[in-house]
């Protein structure tokens, strides 16, 4: 492990010590756990930001080094909807249905 040192407000150290005492762990252990938890959430938040800027979910997960499974679950939990373009969706469906269902294919653009 690598040692890092940070400067902190006295009140925060008191809160950490209180929590560590209640959980019967030492301060360093507690801080490590809090950082790990915070880091995971920070990475997921970054992945969401990348996704909202136009990256695909897979690319965003890879850049932020989070699991695609976790990113999909996180988006769902945050109520963030998937990228959608009505024009692109209409084109995709209309082109796919043109040959066998020409009337429906045309109708799609009226919906």
């Amino acid at each position: 492990m690598i040692n890092i040192s940070i400067r902190s407000k006295k009140e925060m150290v008191e809160e950490l010590d209180n929590l560590a005492k209640l959980e019967k762990v030492d301060r360093a252990q507690l801080i490590r756990r809090i950082i790990e938890k915070g880091l995971t959430e920070e990475k997921l938040t970054m992945a969401v930001a990348l996704y909202q800027k136009g990256e695909t979910l897979e690319k965003a997960a890879s850049l932020a080094k989070v699991s695609l499974w976790d990113l999909i679950d996180f988006l769902h939990a945050q109520g963030i909807t998937t990228q959608f373009s009505m024009n692109e969706e209409k084109l995709l469906l209309s082109n796919a249905l043109r040959q066998n269902y020409p009337e429906l294919s045309k109708k799609i653009f009226e919906l």
């Binding site: 136009g54 990256e55 695909t56 979910l57 897979e58 690319k59 997960a61 890879s62 699991s67 695609l68 499974w69 976790d70 999909i72 988006l75 769902h76 109520g79 963030i80 909807t81 998937t82 990228q83 959608f84 373009s85 009505m86 692109e88 969706e89 209409k90 995709l92 469906l93 796919a96 249905l97 066998n100 269902y101 009337e103 429906l104 109708k107 799609i108 919906l111």
Partner: protein
């Protein structure tokens, strides 16, 4: 045969849709990058659905194809690039739900399908019953969090199809 990307694979397994896709298109093909991202990582993180996919690989319902040639450098995830590259090489359908990847694939002349299109085509060909469609559609909404605009649009298409079926 259909090549499936990582997000479509995750959504499909979560909405119990993989078996239906197998019925409609035969063997599902993934690439090594998709295996790593979805199955290996999912199993490492204890995701129950990743074990279901692994079982399907063992049952040879899902196959992993190695990549032939040099993959292009699209601004996409590794798995999406591999799927587009392989589907183009083998002239087969790519199953991609990610909008950006789908647009890039379509511009390259690839036949691309997403979950809504597979559901609609299944309903039209009667390979998916209306009650099945409704069940899958509800599950798709739950797992993939689509915007209301898309849900409304697809519901209108479904209603148009039902209207036409009634006139048959």
């Amino acid at each position: 045969m259909i090549k499936i990307d990582a997000c479509s694979l995750i959504y499909s397994v979560k909405m119990d849709f993989l078996e239906k896709v197998e019925q409609l298109y035969g063997n599902l093909i993934i690439t090594p990058a998709i295996y790593d991202e979805v199955v290996k990582e999912g199993i490492e993180r204890g995701k129950p659905d990743a074990f279901i996919i692994e079982k399907k690989i063992q049952q040879k319902k899902i196959s992993i194809h190695q990549i032939e040639g040099t993959v292009p450098d699209f601004p996409l995830g590794r798995g999406e690039i591999e799927i587009i590259h392989e589907a183009l090489n083998e002239k087969v359908i790519a199953f991609i739900d990610e909008k950006k990847a789908r647009v890039i694939g379509s511009k390259l002349g690839l036949e691309v399908k997403n979950i809504p299109l597979i559901l609609i085509e299944g309903l039209l060909t009667k390979q998916i019953e209306l009650s099945e469609f409704d069940t899958f559609f509800r599950k798709w909404i739950l797992v993939s969090s689509p915007p209301q605009e898309q849900i409304h649009f697809l519901t209108q298409i479904k209603n148009a199809i039902i209207g036409e079926h009634k006139n048959d």
